[in-house]
């Protein structure tokens, strides 16, 4: 390849010199002076290890306080002191048998849902994304119900329900995402519309299952549709907690890449992110977490919307902090929301999903209006 066509200047060597000679129009002496190295003037403009540690420590305290408040109150009055001291008291029985697992489950489910919300928002570059709104929770719930009806009656349902929920949640995630991508670009409003439609479809499918199965399942099905933390076992709590933590670890390990994704898929790639691989990982991690949550608590919406949004406003957008902060914040939020569900019209208990939806619906509309004012964050 040594030919040189007419019009093509054999370049390089002879031209380097003039280039360097001509380039600094203002002369090297006019280069802006280097900024002071010490400069704490910029402190607070980015995430530091100290801020991360202090913030997560404070949120962990909030989780602890929320847990204490949540176990202290309920539809029945119990004495925490007696419950802890007297192994044979009814207080102890209620505390260990009902209240503690329910509060722990609230923490585990809330943590999973809020972290999933933050991760999905990063993935689609839109603060309105959330597992419930995007129809992923609905898909998971349908998967759980189908498994329950088909398998659980015949034994061996312990793993079938969460596994089927996972498969259906993953399928929902991928389908919603694929349908919202138009000409290689993710369209935010298309995404929301597709999510709403999937929600409706999964809801209808659940009602269809409901109308053809034995009456025996109806309570379970309503439970999944409404979202409730009723009567979990410690084994279920452990399962949700373990899967949520595993999912969080996967997401946090890629937190910087999720930051880069906010510049757009192409810009993220140009900064070294393998975007397709990252997207697959987020799909899988979030589906595992949603499936774990949905298989024990049904569809609890808006936790993944409210918690990351408030925390992003307070703490900034860096996902190295936002993801674990949402995990902790979601835990505290759902424990307290469930406390409201238990005591609001005691002795009758509300499904917690109704409480989060009552808070979350107006919040979503407020955010939609707010987004509509400026250019939609894309």
């Amino acid at each position: 390849m040594s030919e040189t066509a007419p019009g093509v200047t054999p370049n390089m060597a002879p031209e380097v010199a003039p280039a360097t000679a001509r380039a600094p129009a203002r002369g090297a002496g006019a280069v802006s002076p280097p900024p002071p190295a010490s400069g704490d003037t910029l402190g607070g403009a980015h995430l530091t290890r100290l801020k991360l540690t202090l913030t997560l420590g404070a949120l962990a305290m909030l989780v602890l306080i929320s847990a204490i408040v949540a176990v202290a109150f309920g539809s029945v009055h119990i004495s925490l002191v007696r419950a802890l001291r007297d192994a044979h008291s009814p207080d102890r029985a209620i505390f260990i048998g009902a209240r503690l697992p329910r509060v722990l489950m609230g923490a585990a489910v809330g943590a999973a849902l809020a972290a999933v919300g933050a991760a999905l928002q990063a993935l689609v570059r839109n603060p309105l994304a959330e597992g419930g709104i995007l129809g992923i929770s609905g898909g998971g719930a349908l998967g759980a119900i189908v498994a329950l009806v088909a398998v659980a009656g015949h034994g061996g349902g312990a793993f079938a329900v969460p596994l089927s929920a996972f498969g259906a949640a993953l399928l929902s995630t991928v389908m919603v995402y694929r349908l919202a991508v138009v000409d290689g670009r993710l369209e935010p409003f298309t995404l929301l519309l597709v999510g709403v439609i999937f929600n409706a479809i999964w809801g209808a499918a659940i009602m269809l299952v409901n109308s053809v199965v034995n009456y025996y399942y109806v309570h379970d099905i309503v439970f999944w549709l409404m979202g409730s933390l009723e009567a979990p076992t410690y084994a279920e709590v452990a399962m949700v907690a373990a899967l949520s933590l595993a999912g969080l670890a996967l997401l946090v390990a890629r937190a910087r890449d999720l930051n880069l994704l906010s510049l757009g898929d192409e810009a993220a790639g140009e900064l070294g992110v393998e975007v397709d691989a990252l997207r697959r990982l987020v799909f899988i991690a979030t589906s595992v977490m949603i499936a774990a949550a949905v298989s024990v608590s049904g569809i609890i919406s808006f936790v993944g919307l409210i918690v990351p949004h408030v925390l992003r406003l307070a703490l900034g957008a860096d996902h190295r902090l936002l993801l674990p902060a949402s995990f902790l914040g979601g835990a505290a939020f759902l424990m307290l929301a469930d406390l409201v569900a238990r005591v609001a019209i005691a002795p009758t208990e509300l499904p917690v999903g109704a409480v989060t939806a009552l808070c979350g619906g107006p919040f979503f509309i407020y955010m939609l209006r707010r987004e509509g004012r400026g250019p939609l964050a894309l």
Binding site: S2, V8, T9, E15, A19, A23, A45, A253, R256
Partner: protein, 284 residues
């Protein structure tokens, strides 16, 4: 139509020490089945600047996306610092090549400093915190583009021109050997256009940064570029020094409009203006 046969530049007799920063030979590429580029070649040495000019839809941005590794459906040869482009994974490429696209948006309220620090990502592990050295680099990049006062501001609150400078600073924090800039001066006022080219001039001189920029502004191309690649419909219509490529005849043919090419009486620089020449009005 005097299509230039944009064949690969001669390399045989060149000393090895002068491996070009970026070299492309007979690149054919586009989106899916639709080819946008039909065999384009170019070469940029360390410290040099190449301007890619041409009408809308000529394939300028497509060429840049191929060189930056974002568009993978192409044939031909592209070498980055002497090694084939395809031999780099994305992180390795990002440590050598920085791209600033036209769409300088960020979702969520990242601060200006955080966006500039994102340029350090290819040099860091996935969860590592930026070291003081990384911060110093980011601050130097901010200072160079006159952004120090905006460091703590959310990127979304900035004007288009300010955002453009933030993304240029981010590219600088990336410490690349090659910068690919898609319309770096769009949305910028006169002073900032001159500033940007002056800053990149310093970087070219001091660090041997190679710059490839698409430009609509032919005057800027004439003023700042060592070489110009004139594209039309994915074909090179000219490649060489600005004075050779940016002639009235060639530009008229490529842009299909009347063009006046003269010289700035004050500086002697090449000047390109739209409209038919009227000898009585312009005396060059």
């Amino acid at each position: 139509m005097a299509i230039v046969h944009n064949a690969p530049p001669a390399t045989a007799n060149r000393a090895r020490a002068h491996t070009p920063a970026l070299r492309a030979s007979r690149v054919v590429g586009g989106y899916g089945e639709r080819a946008v580029l039909h065999g384009v070649s170019l070469e940029v040495g360390a410290g040099e600047m190449l301007a890619i000019v041409g009408p809308n839809g000529a394939g300028k941005s497509t060429l840049l996306r191929i060189l930056g590794g974002s568009l993978r459906s192409w044939r031909g040869e592209v070498e980055v610092l002497g090694a084939p482009l395809v031999s780099f994974d994305r992180r390795a490429l990002a440590r050598r090549v920085a791209t600033v696209g036209q769409d300088n948006q960020a979702a969520f309220s990242f601060t200006v400093l955080e966006v500039v620090l994102m340029g350090r990502a290819p040099h860091l592990g996935s969860y590592h915190f930026e070291s003081p050295a990384d911060l110093a680099l980011a601050r130097a990049a901010l200072a160079r583009f006159d952004l120090t006062d905006l460091a703590a501001r959310p990127i979304q609150e900035l004007s288009g021109g300010e955002r453009k400078r933030v993304f240029l600073a981010r590219a600088l924090a990336q410490e690349p050997r090659i910068a690919l800039l898609d319309e770096p001066t769009a949305h910028l006022d006169l002073r900032h256009v001159a500033d940007i080219f002056a800053r990149f001039g310093e970087l070219r001189a001091d660090r041997g940064l190679a710059v490839v920029a698409t430009l609509h502004d032919l005057n800027a191309a004439a003023l700042y570029a060592d070489r110009v690649l004139l594209l039309k419909d994915g074909v090179a219509m000219g490649y060489g020094a600005p004075r050779e490529v940016l002639t009235a005849e060639k530009l008229r043919e490529v842009y299909e409009t009347e063009v006046y090419v003269g010289h700035n009486p004050a500086t002697g620089a090449l000047v390109v203006l739209p409209g038919a020449p009227r000898e009585t009005r312009f005396k060059s």
